[in-house]
Symmetry: C2
Subunit: 375 residues, 2 copies
Amino acid sequence: MNVTINRDLLLENLTNVSRALSTKTPMPVLTGIKFEITKNKMYLTASNNEISIQAQLNEGNKLKLEGEGSFVVPGKILSDIIRKLDANEVQFKVVEDNVIKIYANRSDFTLNALEKDNFPLISFAESNTFIKLDIGTLKQIIRKTTFATSLSESRAILTGVCLNLSNNKLEAISTDSFRLAKIYLNVNEELPELSVVIPSKSLDELNKIIIDDNENDIELHFSPTKILFKYKNLLFQSRLIDGVYPNTSSLIPTEFLTSIKFNKTELIKTIDLMSLFTNIESSNIIQLQLNPDKTVEIKSTTSEIGEGKEELIPLECSNPVSFKIAFSAKYFLEAVRSFDSSEIVVHFTGEIKPFIVTGEYDVNLTQLILPVRVS
Amino acid sequence: MNVTINRDLLLENLTNVSRALSTKTPMPVLTGIKFEITKNKMYLTASNNEISIQAQLNEGNKLKLEGEGSFVVPGKILSDIIRKLDANEVQFKVVEDNVIKIYANRSDFTLNALEKDNFPLISFAESNTFIKLDIGTLKQIIRKTTFATSLSESRAILTGVCLNLSNNKLEAISTDSFRLAKIYLNVNEELPELSVVIPSKSLDELNKIIIDDNENDIELHFSPTKILFKYKNLLFQSRLIDGVYPNTSSLIPTEFLTSIKFNKTELIKTIDLMSLFTNIESSNIIQLQLNPDKTVEIKSTTSEIGEGKEELIPLECSNPVSFKIAFSAKYFLEAVRSFDSSEIVVHFTGEIKPFIVTGEYDVNLTQLILPVRVS
């Protein structure tokens, strides 16, 4: 078996596939990338408990294949070698069953292969239930929801993003029970009726691989226990999280006491500055106070450090009442940063009631935050 | 007491002085920066066990002072506030003995001061024994020696850089007993006769502060237990390491079996690639083999991963004998990278004897490395 491949092509695909490599695993073979050579194609595959990624490469100018078969190479060291290599072409030879020889320019390498028979059989089967999205849209969905998922495994279902499809609407929701992110999308085609929960980490890894070049679409294939993303020459598969996602539809308020429009950059700067006077132990709490003269005061205090206060003049205020609310600076910052609009609106319903953030140019996005009671 | 200061001027000086802030310390006051206001001047001072830094600011356009006295503000939080602040001017007011008010634009802050009476009295006294260096030269000395000092406190003297002055020569030496860096400098003036050992960490911190703008010099003032650097409006003082520095003058070989000249970038690339097949447990050992046909082979092996080998064609070789030597890839890389020359020469004396690295345009620099015996 003999593989000759362009160095850049190999590196690009190794980098993508490596995102599914296991680091700590009771199965050493999962620290490896499987090379599978058939008549005119080569497949590179890596897998961990959450995701599996396969790259498919066709024989051609940049890839020459001799023989058929497979071998598993330690993934990290191989990627490191190819990255540091100053060569146009790399050649792989399997000299014995467990030894891989790599030749490139004036260098050669001998790598101990991993036991290929231990590599799990992974089916990347496409499904009849699938939708097509453009890359930009999927990247938006990921960027605007995954940060609000839970980090704690105590309620595993909340560590994922819930994707609901029905009629002509696609909706993505995430919540860690202290805040909630919701984005929806109207599409022209009839969508299958379904609801799945995708691990937030899988989506973040996928987001690092897909590039919004206005040229490629991505296909999402749904099966009962997994989701398969088809993108260029890559298959990216993630397990789904089992369980029933909580019904969040009634949580988002629709009537408000007052709505305040801010310049996003200015608001972020102020919150960021005031965060200095908070700490994780007290959940990074800051206070917002609206005054009848339409000014807004952001304030924070810790007994050890002291107190910070900044006045903001909002762009608009629907109802300038005397109003005070306290919430996590971290959650609020993450929510505000998820908007593309340069102006955002914070809608309050009451001093201890959930409030939402919306943005002029992010019509389909709502971020909700639960306030905290302060004495 | 009342201080009004330009925000950028304050930030620059806080950033410099902060390099001497203590993080973990049994003396909480050392996490603070002392503000000292006299008639027309303000001093900012910070100190830890190793170094003390003082910035001196004169009253003028960018600094207005009212009253005299001093206060100590928590250093990290103050720097963070000023860095994140969107303001041209910042005003400090001491409202009670232990409360500092800070006003800037639409923000205000209340900080708990640290107990100023606990702040140590630090003398930044200049000495009659001093020399003047240009910043570029001092930065070179630091960059080319500190990496070779020891990290282990077991022989504290080796954690510093030894600076020897005599006649018209300044010499800096560092060694961790496995390698040695030596740089010297001929100067036009008569230097005082002395030898001091400066903590490597102090020099690295100093190097972050001083900027080679071809405009400023730096003065080095020597006292029995400390060294004071005068740079622009800053005083940077470090303790010296007590003890006798080992005599290293006889260690550097002067006659060689063979000298090999390499392109520096090419050599670094090869060593870096071969480092992948080494590990810390085996001290990152690689092997260099010179062949009678003047080719050089760099090789490394670990039983777990495999083996790497690359052939280099050196630019020159004084004596193409059959020759093999093994050494730490890490030490060799650090040594080679310390040269500014694009071509470097490695001079070998024997297979288990120390070898040195020199560079065409680094006439005053010698890097020495001890090889290891391999079976």
